[in-house]
């Protein structure tokens, strides 16, 4: 997986150190965002035919195809289940997350 990494951002000590306006360097992700997920998609690589349908329909762009096998970026997956619904070979199962 070669997705953008969350870069640390240390909270400014004073207001002066805040950016001038709502502007920052591109690609500067300051936090992950997956907190409201209750079920997570898991790909059965044995069944997956690599058709990339899930990659196309994921509303959060959380499916990564940079490696040989498709991977899900759980830092940003919200657990909506669209990938599992659309998968033509039922390779994706939604599994309840217990924390």
């Amino acid at each position: 997986m070669d997705r953008p990494k969350v870069k640390g951002w240390s909270y400014p000590k004073s207001i002066d150190q805040f950016p001038m306006g709502s502007t920052c360097k591109s690609d500067h992700l300051t936090s992950i965002n997956a907190g409201w997920r209750t079920v997570k998609p898991v790909i059965d690589q044995e069944v997956c035919i690599n058709c990339l349908k899930c990659f196309l329909v994921c509303p959060d762009g959380a499916i990564d195809k940079s490696s040989k096998e498709l991977e899900i970026d759980y830092d940003f997956c919200k657990g909506c289940g669209i990938c599992a619904f659309e998968c033509p070979v039922n390779a994706i199962k939604m599994i309840e997350e217990v924390k």
Binding site: I15, F18, P19, M20, G21, S22, C24, K25, S26, H28
Partner: protein, 395 residues
């Protein structure tokens, strides 16, 4: 040095000022209530006397959105609007100020619907006092032109980086003609250096995310920074006006101008063109030996709290002329003035004179009546705190 003078209307004066400021892009929507300022600028671009891109957009909302795009890549942007046009672009105003983009806009103050007309009052700009834009109000066409040049210098000052709205009274300035001195381009170029905004503009070399979201962990601090920088811009407004005065021979006294305030017992506070009429009345009343004064508020955001309290020291009663109504309360400038004056040890009595709505004249007689009412108010007579000027029926 020969000085060029032209007999032009306020719209032309603004266009001359903008041409001298050399914006890269002008975006505007030409429909009533738009002014001929943008028509002149289109002619300048066509004839080549202004090297700029002229974008004829499909709405006022697009006009400002376009200026936001222009400013985001570090170019100088201009747009102009009026009345309902300003209200239609309202949604984009805090985007420009929040992103700290130094856009300059002329707003011709005209009445708003409904009942609508095309005459002048200041209801439109008062809606947007909270938009994060610096707001100037000018008295005549010369000041309108000069403030276009000052506005760019101020907006682009590193510590300020805030868009500026220059308000010129509809009809009284947009449709009347006067002699205006046009400064030399070389002097303006010295006064207004090329735009530079390395921190908040993007380029291919420095890709940026603009108008980012900020959660409740940082959002308040972003807004506080914007607020503090706006408060501090008062210093630069004063300094830039002084420097302008030294260079071009016209000084406007920064945030506000006090006239005959040294020994004044009562004073009127004005914004925009009604100041000129009040100056004439003031002269007459002074000749009659009355201790009256006048304060012309030039900037409403940031609001000159300390300067106003300072100039009103020793004054016993103050009247505020408002060309707007905040429905259900009073005139907006009055509210702002009262809060500023509450910082004084001996706060003067205050009265509000609401007038000029929908372009109704505020005459010399009306202003004389206002001064008289202030004297009566001071002598303890029971008078309604909020007065309406030149009303044509009982109420």
């Amino acid at each position: 040095m020969s000085k060029q003078k032209k007999f032009i209307c306020g719209d032309d004066a603004v266009a001359e000022g903008v041409r001298l400021a050399r914006p890269h892009v002008i975006s505007a929507y030409p429909i009533t209530p738009q002014t001929i300022t943008v028509e002149r600028l289109a002619e300048y671009v066509e004839e080549g006397s202004l090297k700029a891109e002229y974008l004829h957009v499909e709405s006022e909302h697009s006009a400002l959105s376009c200026a936001i795009g222009v400013s985001s890549v570090g170019a100088r942007a201009f747009t102009a609007t009026s009345s309902q046009g300003l209200l239609y672009m309202a949604e984009a105003l805090p985007y420009a100020s929040g992103a700290r983009l130094p856009i300059v806009m002329m707003n011709a103050n005209r009445s708003i619907a409904t009942p609508w007309n095309i005459y002048g009052d200041q209801m439109d700009a008062m809606f947007l006092l909270n938009s994060g834009w610096i707001q100037y109000y000018v008295e005549d066409a010369q000041e309108a032109m000069d403030m276009m040049i000052q506005a760019y210098r101020l907006a682009e000052t590193k510590e300020v980086m805030t868009p500026v709205m220059v308000n010129i009274d509809g009809f009284v300035l947009t449709h009347t003609y006067e002699l205006v001195e046009i400064p030399e381009q070389s002097l303006v170029d010295e006064f207004l250096p090329p735009i530079s905004m390395p921190e908040n503009s993007m380029s291919l070399e420095s890709p940026k995310s603009l108008c980012i979201s900020a959660g409740n962990d940082t959002n308040m601090e972003f807004n506080m920074k914007q607020h503090f920088d706006m408060l501090n811009s008062e210093y630069f407004i004063e300094a830039i006006d002084k420097e302008f005065g030294d260079k071009f021979g016209r000084y406007y006294n920064g945030m506000l101008e006090g006239i005959n305030m040294d020994d004044a017992e009562i004073a009127l506070i004005t914004t925009g063109t009604v100041t000129g009429t009040t100056r004439v009345v003031l002269k007459k009343l002074r000749k009659e030996g009355k201790k009256v004064g006048l304060i012309k508020l030039r900037v409403l955001r940031p609001f000159p709290v300390e300067k106003l309290a300072e100039v009103l020291k020793g004054v016993k009663a103050v009247g505020v002329i408002d060309k707007n109504i905040s429905f259900g309360y009073e005139g907006t400038v009055f509210t702002n003035v009262n809060s500023a004056l509450s910082t004084m040890e001996n706060m003067p009595k205050t009265m509000n004179f609401i007038g000029g709505i929908g372009g109704r004249d505020i005459t010399k007689e009306d202003i004389e009546i206002a001064y008289e009412k202030l004297f009566e108010f001071l002598q303890g007579e029971k008078i309604e705190r909020v007065q309406y000027m030149n009303v044509r029926c009982d109420y």
